[in-house]
């Protein structure tokens, strides 16, 4: 039995969590070795503090376990709630990722089966459409099951849409870049899809408050396929959109459309097209 024991005030302060160092350290060290003081600590801790502590612990027991994507984002410095929203983007589901991989595989395989410059065209024409489709899938009514709740949440629709667009662009760009590696003989030309991908995505977003989250990307997709066809789809990387002039034009479109999106950001919350009436079947999961 020790002759010295923690003074009452310190013990109460420790129990309430208000005791500061260095008294905190000395109290903690003493408590570890003194059963008598630990016993006194039991009575010093109020039931309210115990209940609050238990409630905190109990809440954390069922709290979501961050998945690998979410953990990585938090480690990279993204706020935990933002990481959660990013990780919950519908396009990060296996079904969507599977579809993207399959599309790219088909594009590359079809490219390999063809000869000459047209081998690359399948990838260059297809890859820019993937992020566009991803944005439609991740925010389209009926495609995002929580759309109706998200639209009336105080978080700006624009912020949620941007977060999801970032998630879409990151995944599709990474996967498309991997697909480009399968066509090494074309060098940098195999990355010709990157600027169109950014331009089409920005253009799709810019038209969204006017046309809605599904129609806008669809219109842009049709316009792209038309442009690529008219621009000489089968002539290979020399087709208009992939020449230096074409790429510069696409970069300009990307910048202009991004500016238009930023200027019209409040319209994402107020546009009737963004909030078109949707019906989602009750059992849908």
């Amino acid at each position: 039995m020790e002759s010295w024991h923690v003074p009452e005030d310190d013990l109460t302060g420790y129990a309430e969590g208000s005791l500061a160092a260095p008294r905190l350290w000395s109290t903690e060290t003493h408590l570890a070795g003194c059963a008598h003081c630990r016993e006194r600590l039991n009575t010093a801790v109020g039931t309210a503090a115990v209940d609050a502590g238990w409630a905190r612990l109990d809440a954390e027991l069922d709290a979501p376990r961050p998945g690998p994507v979410e953990s990585l984002l938090v480690r990279l410095g993204v706020a935990d709630h933002t990481a959660r929203l990013l990780a919950a983007t519908p396009v990060l589901r296996r079904a969507w990722l599977g579809a993207v991989v399959l599309t790219l595989l088909v594009a590359v395989a079809a490219g390999h089966a063809m000869r000459g410059g047209s081998a690359l065209m399948m990838l260059l024409a297809t890859a820019p459409l993937l992020p566009l489709a991803g944005v439609a899938v991740s925010f389209g009514p009926g495609l995002d099951p929580t759309y109706e709740m998200a639209v009336v949440a105080p978080m700006h629709t624009f912020r949620l849409l941007m977060l999801r667009t970032v998630a879409v662009l990151t995944t599709t760009t990474t996967l498309s870049a991997l697909a480009s590696l399968a066509l090494p003989s074309f060098g940098l030309a195999a990355l010709g899809w990157l600027l169109p991908a950014l331009a089409l995505t920005a253009l799709g977003l810019a038209l969204m408050p006017r046309l809605g989250p599904v129609v806008a990307p669809s219109v842009v997709a049709v316009a792209w396929l038309t442009a690529v066809s008219l621009g000489g789809l089968w002539t290979g990387p020399t087709a208009a959109p992939f020449t230096t002039a074409g790429q510069c034009a696409l970069a300009a479109i990307a910048v202009a459309a991004t500016a238009a999106v930023l200027i019209a950001r409040d319209r994402f919350d107020s546009s009737r097209h963004m909030n078109a009436r949707v019906r989602i079947s009750a059992g849908r999961l």
């Binding site: 409630a55 905190r56 109990d58 809440a59 954390e60 027991l61 069922d62 709290a63 979501p64 706020a79 935990d80 709630h81 959660r84 929203l85 919950a88 519908p90 589901r93 995002d144 099951p145 929580t146 759309y147 109706e148 709740m149 998200a150 639209v151 009336v152 949440a153 105080p154 978080m155 700006h156 949620l160 409040d266 919350d269 107020s270 009737r272 909030n275 009436r277 019906r279 989602i280 079947s281 009750a282 059992g283 849908r284 999961l285």
Partner: protein, 295 residues
């Protein structure tokens, strides 16, 4: 039936005036005006009456073509006003969707993030409290796809109530629930109505009879009745009678379990008048409207 709260005389928390919305060429809402105060108000009407359209406008999911709406002094037609309304709003849509694979806790947590509860610890405690409130303390960690329809509906209610909104919009939350689940859900709605303004859309008169201090009847986009459930019942006073055969000229008439017919409408002289129910009052409100429309 719950007694009307004292706050009925207090200033309204929600005020709607002249709301009109056309949807694909038809008038979904036609000059709808009413005010809501604290407690549970029932919005009663047949399918296709415009209930969901009205609730979506109140929940700021869609703007009206015409009319004014004020929620706790905020006007959702402005950017700042809409944000202010959304911060005080809890919304349970007609068919709430869930992310696949989310647990009950994860789903309510996700909605809490959308409601700007960014402090992780406080948010988790709030989520836990709301799930406990709706009786899902033991199912917090269960995946939503493994829950029954009634439990899913309770998860959606917990999500609507997370962040302690003062105006709660519930769109037909008792549809598809069995009688026991429905009763349990009514208890939860009654609890949610304490200190909040709750608008409950339903096509079941029992929901209104058991929960609401006030009822608004909507049919074909127009308000047909606005008052207490007792007043709605009283609207059918002297207009329900029994007869041995189906009465000619009755708005509605059906053979009851006793073999007698229960008729609704203008009774013939000397008819045996019956005590009306809330359902009779409701049928009178919408059938009376039909008569008016035909005239």
């Amino acid at each position: 039936m719950t007694a009307p709260p004292a706050s009925r005389t207090a200033p309204p928390t929600v005020s709607v005036s002249g709301l009109t919305l056309r949807y694909r060429g038809t008038v979904a809402l036609d000059d709808v005006s009413f005010r809501l105060g604290e407690g549970v108000t029932g919005l009663l009407g047949p399918n296709g009456a415009g209930k969901t359209t009205l609730l979506r406008i109140l929940a700021t999911a869609t703007p009206p073509d015409r009319g004014a709406l004020t929620v706790l002094g905020n006007d959702p037609s402005t950017v700042a006003g809409r944000q202010a309304v959304r911060r005080t709003l809890g919304y349970l849509p007609q068919s709430p969707g869930f992310h696949p694979g989310f647990t009950a806790f994860e789903f309510v947590d996700y909605v809490a993030i959308l409601k700007e509860l960014t402090d992780r610890r406080q948010r988790h405690q709030e989520v836990r409290r709301r799930l406990d409130d709706v009786g899902l303390a033991d199912a917090r960690g269960k995946r939503i796809k493994a829950l029954s329809g009634g439990m899913r509906q309770r998860v959606a209610l917990a999500a609507a109530l997370v962040g302690d909104p003062s105006f709660v919009v519930l769109d037909e939350p008792t549809v598809g629930l069995d009688p026991e689940q429905r009763m349990r859900f009514r208890e939860l709605i009654a609890e949610a109505g304490q200190g909040r303004t709750v608008l409950l859309s339903t096509h079941q008169t029992e929901d209104v009879a058991m929960l609401c201090h006030r009822v608004v009847v909507l049919d074909r986009g127009r308000i047909r009745f606005d008052g207490t459930p007792a007043e709605l019942t009283a609207a059918a006073e002297g207009r329900v009678w029994s007869s041995d055969a189906k009465a000619q000229g009755a708005l509605a008439g059906w053979r009851t379990g006793t073999g007698e017919f229960r008729n609704l409408g203008d009774p013939p002289g000397g008819a045996a008048i019956l005590e009306p129910t809330l359902e009779d009052g409701y049928l009178m409100a919408i059938d009376g409207a039909a008569e008016g429309a035909m005239a």
